[in-house]
């Protein structure tokens, strides 16, 4: 079993922005666990939710793989799942998420540059196209269905660790 940290990004109080947290909660339920800020799932996945990529090094405990789930806005149909491998995640050209935050890719590049211990980590991102990020404490139905799909896919993938390095 390759040690893997699964991180759900976003804010559950902001509609579909909470899809990362929702996937982590579903993974915890799949594993018959209560959701927690950082928990150990029987499948070998360690689960975490974060609001910002720059906290990643605070929850990373030496896992070889970090699998991330985040809301994505790139013009596809709401609920569409974008699957990005290691290079695709790190090479995403977006610099800032806002004037106040670095983007996921820029934050990861900064971490890889500045934390030698994390230089060998393989990243993977499941990006779920958001329908709405208004302040509502629920996912839109189409994104909720996508969250279910992503959670099962991550659980399946963790059971077949030799399929790919990332």
């Amino acid at each position: 079993m390759i040690p893997t940290l699964v991180v759900g990004f976003g804010n559950p109080l902001m509609g579909d922005d909470g899809v990362g947290a929702a996937v982590v909660t579903k993974l915890a339920l799949i594993s018959h666990q209560l959701p927690a800020a950082v928990g150990e799932a029987p499948s070998g996945l360690r689960l975490s939710t974060l609001a910002d990529v720059l906290y990643l090094s605070s929850v990373w405990r030496g896992e070889a793989r970090v699998w991330m789930v985040d809301a994505v806005v790139c013009g596809a149909a709401p609920g569409a799942v974008h699957r990005l491998g290691h290079e695709e995640v790190l090479e995403n050209p977006q610099r800032h998420a806002t004037v106040h935050h670095l983007s996921l890719a820029e934050g990861l590049r900064w971490i890889v540059h500045s934390c030698p211990a994390m230089a060998g980590v393989r990243f993977r991102l499941w990006g779920v196209e958001a329908e709405s990020v208004d302040p509502v404490e629920a996912l839109s139905p189409v994104v909720a269905r996508a969250a279910e799909t992503v959670a099962r896919e991550i659980a399946d993938r963790s059971r077949h660790p030799v399929r790919s390095p990332g």
């Binding site: 990004f9 976003g10 804010n11 109080l13 902001m14 922005d17 800020a37 974060l50 609001a51 910002d52 720059l54 906290y55 090094s57 605070s58 985040d70 809301a71 994505v72 806005v73 790139c74 013009g75 596809a76 569409a80 974008h82 995403n92 977006q94 610099r95 800032h96 998420a97 806002t98 004037v99 106040h100 935050h101 670095l102 983007s103 996921l104 890719a105 820029e106 590049r109 900064w110 971490i111 540059h113 500045s114 934390c115 991102l125 990006g127 196209e129 958001a130 990020v133 302040p135």
Partner: protein
């Protein structure tokens, strides 16, 4: 017929894209400068009504990841006032340490990753890493050090859980405080090298204009992030409880976020530059050294200098953080500290200086401890009107200087002005953007 030119900066807006900075130039005249942002806190205030006061901290700190420690201290201060709880000396010092950690974390990200690349001619922090690899590495370590302060005091690096109404669930051990103190002290020398680097950078003046500043009067004689009264650079002083009369919120047609001004009608700036303007004379040690290097002629009216004001506050955060560790180490080691109190009806206001400026929280509780009303005024909301004012001046000056200046350069320069305020615009939302 005059030509019309529009410049938009969508990154400043919400993910839906309606918003951001919009500048309209007709001929050679700047006709319109609008900044529209989403003010997320209103939703949280409504969420709190009817909730028990013990739930408030856990909900309201979700307003922001970076400022969660500041929202926590403002919330606890307001709730404790409503409940008639007095803060013990140890609790006061620990909350002060938490705020310093938050300032170091937030300012390190803003100054080094978001602002400094603009001034050194790079388009991002990672582009800067090519020429400044060690500095870029140190910057992230500095941010992580701010996180560690918050983790030690608050129980985790973001959205503290160890901070409670009346005290703390668990106090940091002396051993942990000693280790933290050592880290804070060790970071000072490398940080001062950044101060030297910044002091050599010429800061543009195209957004400089006379400005009114507002900040809390520090609770002691030092330079602190907590206070009981609101001061302005006009010489006014008001009790924090009167914030509702001082901060006059108003609506504008182009934005669904409220703007703010003083009773005089003046727009104003809150944040590190305002704090330095009003209380810079109270700095000591390495922070004073940094202040004198970066502001040799005192604090000038130029929002772009807010980046350097934040740099001074990072130095203060490390230095004062180490002092607070010493003061806490001088107290007997204990497992926890919690005031005894009884639930009662009441109303309380908590005001703190967050990285981006003065933050107000107000709660009214009923006899069962349920929230009757809640109000939060964030620094970014207070800075909005002043940001538009500075953006307009910057656009005018830049176009006078070079009427044919291309959109890309103009956009970057205007973004630098908005960024200097370090606005917390869509901190409740975090999405990846890309091409499908």
């Amino acid at each position: 017929m005059s030509s019309t030119r529009t410049i938009t900066i969508p990154h400043l807006g919400r993910v839906e894209g309606h918003g951001g900075i919009f500048v309209k130039v007709v001929g050679e005249t700047v006709h319109e400068v609008n900044m529209d942002i989403h003010e997320g806190s209103r939703y949280y205030e409504a969420l709190l009504v009817g909730k028990h006061f013990l739930e408030v901290q856990g909900i309201i700190t979700r307003v922001c990841a970076i400022c969660s420690a500041n929202h926590t201290v403002a919330t606890l201060t307001a709730l404790e006032k409503a409940l008639g709880i007095s803060e013990t000396e140890r609790v006061h010092k620990l909350r002060g340490l938490l705020l310093l950690g938050a300032a170091v974390e937030s300012h390190a990200l803003h100054v080094f990753a978001l602002a400094l690349p603009d001034y050194l001619g790079f388009d991002s922090v990672m582009a800067m890493a090519v020429d400044y690899p060690e500095e870029v590495t140190f910057a992230l370590r500095l941010k992580q050090l701010g996180n560690r302060v918050q983790e030690l005091v608050g129980g985790r690096p973001v959205h503290p859980i160890n901070t409670l109404v009346g005290g703390f669930g668990k106090l940091p051990s002396h051993r942990a405080l000693e280790a933290l103190r050592a880290e804070l002290v060790q970071a000072l020398d490398p940080l001062m090298r950044f101060v030297d680097l910044a002091a050599e950078i010429e800061v543009p003046r195209w957004a400089a204009q006379p400005t009114v500043y507002m900040a809390l009067r520090p609770i002691t004689e030092g330079y602190r992030f907590r206070g009981e009264s609101i001061c302005t650079s006009l010489g006014e002083e008001f009790p924090a409880e009167a914030y509702g009369n001082v901060v006059r919120e108003f609506t504008v047609e182009h934005s669904h976020a409220k703007h703010a001004a003083l009773a005089s009608g003046d727009t104003y700036m809150v944040g590190a530059l305002a704090r330095l303007k009003l209380w810079g004379g109270r700095l000591e040690g390495r922070a004073l050294e940094a202040f004198e290097l970066l502001f040799p002629d005192g604090v000038a009216d130029n929002i772009l200098l807010n980046n350097w004001a934040q740099l001074v506050e990072i130095v203060l955060g490390l230095e004062r953080g180490a002092e607070l560790c010493d003061e806490l180490l001088a107290m007997p080691e204990a497992q926890h500290e919690m005031a005894e109190y009884e639930v009662r009806a009441g109303r309380g206001v908590g005001a703190v200086e967050a990285p981006r400026g003065t933050l107000f929280h107000e709660y009214e509780l009923d006899g069962e401890g349920l929230v009757v009303s809640a109000n939060v005024i964030t620094p970014t909301a207070q800075n909005l009107a002043n940001t538009e004012r500075d953006l307009r001046l910057a656009a005018e000056n830049l176009l006078i200087e070079e009427p044919r200046r291309d959109d890309t350069e103009l956009r970057l320069n205007l973004e630098m002005v908005a960024r200097a305020y370090d606005p917390c615009i869509s901190c409740s939302v975090h999405v990846v953007r890309g091409d499908s």
